[in-house]
Every structure is written in C-alpha cells, then in structure tokens.
C-alpha cells in the first residue's frame, strides 16, 4: 500500500493567524515521561464525508488515543458545534466549553478511482491554531490503517514521540483445555483488530519475533515433535527450518539489521547462545558455559547482546559484546531475572522477575541500575517493546491453567490494560514501525 502525506502548508499559514498572538509556550503538548500525567482532553467528532467510514475512522482514532493513556477523547454526544466543513476554522469557544484542549476534524471521501481520501486537521483549542493537517489516500479495505496513521500523527505532534498505532503484534493464540493446550501462530493489528492465524495448531509453536521489516517471523515450532527455530514469511506463507541441528533450537531474535538471528542451541542437555548468519547460514558460538544460557536480545546498535544465565546459581541477566566477549552479570536484585529485552531506544532492558511463583515485568538501565517493576499481575512474563520504547506488552497467565492474556503497560508503570485477543493468547512480539 502506498502512503501519501501532503502537508497543508500554504493553507495552514492563512488560518493560523490567531496563533501569532498566542505565546509559543502555550502550545498543546503532553510529556510522556510523567508518571502521573493527566490525560489530555481531546475532541474527535466523526469525520465528515462518507458517514459510515467517517464514523469508523474517528472511532478508531478515539480508541487508539484513549488506549495510550495520554489522551481522554471526549464523548461526541456532548459536542455543541457540528463540524460540516473541515476547511473552515472551528468555533474554538464552543470546543473550550466542552473542556476540549485539542480538536481533530476530518473527512473521508471516495475518489473517482475507488480509493479513499482521508483529510484531517489537529487544532489547538486554546491556542486557536492548527497544529497539523494531513491527507492520505488508500484502498477502502485499508481504512483502519489510515485511522492508525492519523492517530500516530496526532500522538507524535502532541507528545514529540513517534506513534505506535500503525503496527502489528505476532503472538501465540491458545485454545483447548489446560492439559492439552493448542497453540497457533497468529498476527493482529496493535489494537487487536484483524487477527489472522498463520498455523493450524497441529503442532505447538512458541516465542515468535518479527524481523525489522515485519515481513518475517522467527519462532519455535514442534513440527514432528522436534522443537526447532523456524522462519515464517508472512507474504508467501512459506515456513522454513532455520539450520538443521540434531537437538533443540529456541528463543530466536533477529539482529537490528535483519541479517542474523541470535538463538539458543541445546547440546547434550546444555543450552548456549549462537548467532546464525541468514545468508551464509554459518553459526557462531557466543557462550560455552555449562550453565543455561538463553533468551538473547540485541542492543539496537547491534553491538551487544543481553541474555539470561544461571551460571551464578540462579537465573540472572547478563550482557556481552556481539562477539561473545565481555560477558558480565548486570542483575543483582531479588529472585530470578530473565528474558531481558533491549528497548528500541537503547536506554532500558525490560525483563521478567520471578520470586517464588510471582512473576512481574520490570525495567532496568542497561548496566543493571535503576531497576523497577512495572506490572501487577503476579503472573506476567515475556515483555516486548513498542517501537517508540514507551509502551510494553507481555503475557499474563491466569491461575489454575485458566489460559493466558496479553496486556500492555506504559514504561512508567501507568495504564496497565488488557489487549483484546481472540481467545487466550501469549508471547506477544511487537512489530517495528511498518514502512
């Protein structure tokens, strides 16, 4: 799908004249680093033009922004002004009266060639100025993606951070009784829409991960009762075993450039970390300790790998250089610590803390300092980062074999909430930003 972005630069200049009298510091903004930020009240009336699609697109944008925890979309039933022409300057007083600080007006129209055209403008109600104006074209079946792009643009303009709504989640869909769980590879939009099963469930699959272009998934499959790492091409549906090893391979993760996969190979009961080059298929060994070494994750610059090891007696987090040198323990907190995952920003590692049978997601700096726990489920494991490094998803198991759910939480620990999935679900992996 092609994506068109057209800035209304010339028009915006005309309409933002009132902004000249507004102090620049008053500009609408949300500081995402605040742990207790008040969500910003924002009015997003149904887009004009095609009534059904206009309502659908605005509904998705409202849901996206609400889910982020940083915005509070106002109930459209309370709006006094009815937007009919998005090319006219809105009556800011009427939007101030409903406590809106931001206003989004938009229009969805069908083009003669069958494509959809979506225009929208983001207004600063108090500053009485247009902050953003964009136009997209797409095929009608892609209307949800356009809505997510609108959300991303609003989020980025107001928070200064990249949005993450136009992304996908690969995960494990679970069904059946606890003692005979069926696990299928599945993919969905970030908001849980458009779920698609990629495998049928006749063999177990675990721990899927996206490559940097979100076209390829590395995962573990029990095809033929032989647990091995596989690659799945989303476009073609083709599956391919990665290498041909006599023993188990697991916990794969793509390098930031997508050309290598770090994984764990078990030999004679001992698990060690290797890197496979995807072009030459050559394997390079990084750890050779008799302890369990697994769950590798790359730093975004591709120079370091974090992993977990029980070489010190209990499962803890370690970091090493990508050639295997400089292996050092960084977690010294309570309990067992595992599944370290490097933030796309490079500043933090998310991890799973286990104390007894209590599992929590935490974050720490990459030297192990500043550790804090950010989830409250008690059965939370396997974090994955949104591409902007502000939000995480993870698996939450239910007691008594009651299945598993996917949850999300802000890196600050705020806004913990369930991600809707078709049935039980686990092992989420967030896609990078889709190009």
């Amino acid at each position: 799908m092609k994506r068109y972005l057209v800035l209304f630069a010339a028009l915006a200049a005309l309409w933002t004249a009132p902004a000249l009298f507004t102090p620049a510091l008053a500009a609408l903004q949300v500081d995402v680093t605040q742990g207790n930020a008040q969500p910003l009240p924002i009015a997003i009336p149904d887009f004009v033009g095609d009534p059904q699609l206009g309502a659908n697109v605005a509904g998705v944008v409202r849901a996206d922004l609400e889910r982020s925890g940083l915005f509070r979309p106002l109930d459209p039933r309370g709006f006094a002004e009815r937007i009919t022409n998005i090319n006219a300057v809105p009556n800011f007083g009427s939007w101030r009266a409903v406590t809106a600080q931001g206003l989004v007006t938009g229009q969805v129209t069908q083009q003669p060639d069958g494509r959809l055209r979506v225009d929208f403008r983001l207004w600063d109600v108090y500053g009485q100025s247009q902050m953003l104006g964009l136009q997209f074209f797409t095929t009608p079946e892609n209307w949800r993606r356009i809505a997510h792009m609108v959300s991303d643009a609003i989020y980025e303009r107001i928070t200064g951070e990249k949005g993450y709504f136009d992304t996908r989640i690969v995960f494990i869909s679970e069904s059946g009784p606890a003692l005979k769980r069926v696990k299928r590879l599945a993919i969905m939009d970030e908001d849980g829409a458009n779920p698609i099963f990629l495998t049928r469930g006749d063999y177990m699959v675990l721990t899927p991960r996206f490559n940097p272009t979100a076209q390829m998934i590395a995962y573990m499959s029990y095809i033929g009762n032989k647990p091995r790492v596989y690659l799945f091409d989303i476009e073609t549906g083709k599956q391919e075993m990665l290498g041909n090893f006599p023993n188990m391979t697991f916990s794969p993760r793509f390098s930031p450039d997508g050309n290598q996969v770090a994984l764990t190979l078990e030999t004679g009961g001992n698990s060690d970390i290797y890197i496979m080059d995807l072009r030459s298929r050559a394997m390079r060994r990084l750890t050779s300790d008799p302890a369990i070494d697994t769950a590798p994750s790359w730093s975004p610059d591709g120079r370091q790998i974090s992993f977990e090891s029980d070489r010190g007696g209990s499962q803890q987090i370690y970091v090493m250089n990508v050639d295997g040198s400089g292996q050092r323990r960084i977690s010294f907190g309570q309990g067992a610590n595992g599944t370290p995952v490097w933030s796309p920003r490079g500043d933090l590692l998310a991890f799973t803390r286990r104390t007894g049978n209590v599992f929590s997601i935490g974050v720490m700096r990459t030297d192990g300092s500043g550790e804090r726990l950010i989830t409250s489920g008690g059965r939370d494991e396997g974090p994955t980062w949104a591409p902007n490094g502000r939000v995480l998803m993870y698996s939450r198991a239910l007691a008594g074999g009651g299945g598993s759910q996917i949850w999300s939480v802000d890196v600050t620990g705020r806004n913990e909430r369930r991600v809707l999935t078709p049935g039980s679900a686990s092992d989420p992996a967030w896609s990078p930003l889709i190009q």
Partner: protein
C-alpha cells in the same frame, strides 16, 4: 470396552505409585541402595495378562515411564533409579524399540528457561539409560518446558508432578 477400563485401572495404579514415590522423595534421597530392578522374567500379575509383552503399553504399565525431579534440579533421584533400571532392562530385552525422553518443568520459570531446564532433565534420563547399557542411538530427547503440564494448580504437589522425565516408546515395539 474391557481393555479400556483395565487400562484406566492400571493408569490410576501407576499414578498412585508415582505420587507415593514423589511425596517420599526428600527422605528417599538419603537412603543408600536403590531397589534392584524388577526381574523381567517374573510372572506378570494376572491382571496384566492382556498386555502384549514388548508393547508400548507393556512399557508404560508394567515398567513405568515417568521419573520426577527436585525444584530447579535435573539430577536423577535415588528413588527413581529403580524405575530407570527397569526401563533399561526392558529396552535391552526389546532391542528394536526406540524411545523419546520428554523433559518437563513446573510453572515456576520463564518459558525459555524451562525449555532449557526440560532439556537438562531429558538428557539426564537419557544419560542414565545409556549408563545402564542402552545404546544412545535408540534414545531421543525433547523438552516441553512448562508447556505440557499434567496438573495445573499452583501447589507443591502439583509442581512436583510436573517436574518430570517421561520415556515414550516411539517405534519398534510389539503391537
């Protein structure tokens, strides 16, 4: 119907034996000599007579397929050496049989760690069987981590059942 109800009865019996062994394991670790492997030639009890000798069912019901492990451990417990000795003797009596040893973990560990731990356990069983004379080429291992529990409660009795190595006949058995 008859054979199904009998199998069920045997399954319950063997489960009871396993549970008994399991709850005793702490004490059992310190007792010195493991019980000698049951002689294969011993006449089967009347109730087992419908099971074909050398079959997968024979192995599962009359020999026993499951051993258990301590928390976060993968060493073979003294109490389980008897059952592994019987497995080895049976495998030597039926040299065409191939088996897969499944390693499992309880829920107290992350997914990846438990896969690695299950592999350690499966390999420990395999190595014990090899030490008892079973050829390594007849033994495969597979780890299921915490993904295939036999019990779902968060309790020690349940965890101890899930920390297990199961020897599964995969080929060459009488049928």
């Amino acid at each position: 119907m008859t054979s199904i109800s009998r199998s069920l009865k045997f399954a319950c019996l063997s489960a009871a034996l396993i549970l008994g062994a399991c709850t005793q394991k702490k004490e059992a670790v310190n007792t010195a000599p493991p019980p000698p492997p049951a002689p294969m030639a011993s006449a089967p009890a009347p109730v087992t007579s419908s099971i074909l000798p050398g079959s997968a069912e024979d192995f599962r019901v009359n020999v026993g397929d499951t051993v258990h492990f301590g928390y976060n451990e993968y060493g073979i417990q003294e109490a389980d050496k008897g059952i592994l000795g019987r497995q080895a003797a049976w495998l030597q009596k039926y040299p065409a049989v191939r088996v897969s040893v499944e390693g499992h973990a309880d829920e107290r560990g992350t997914r990846e760690y438990n896969l690695a731990l299950g592999a350690r356990r499966a390999n420990a069983v395999k190595e014990y069987l090899v030490s008892q004379g079973v050829s390594t080429g007849r033994l495969e291992t597979v780890s299921y981590g915490k993904e295939r529990p036999v019990c779902t409660e968060s309790s020690e009795s349940c965890w101890s059942q899930n920390r297990r190595g199961v020897t599964v006949v995969t080929g060459g058995a009488n049928s």
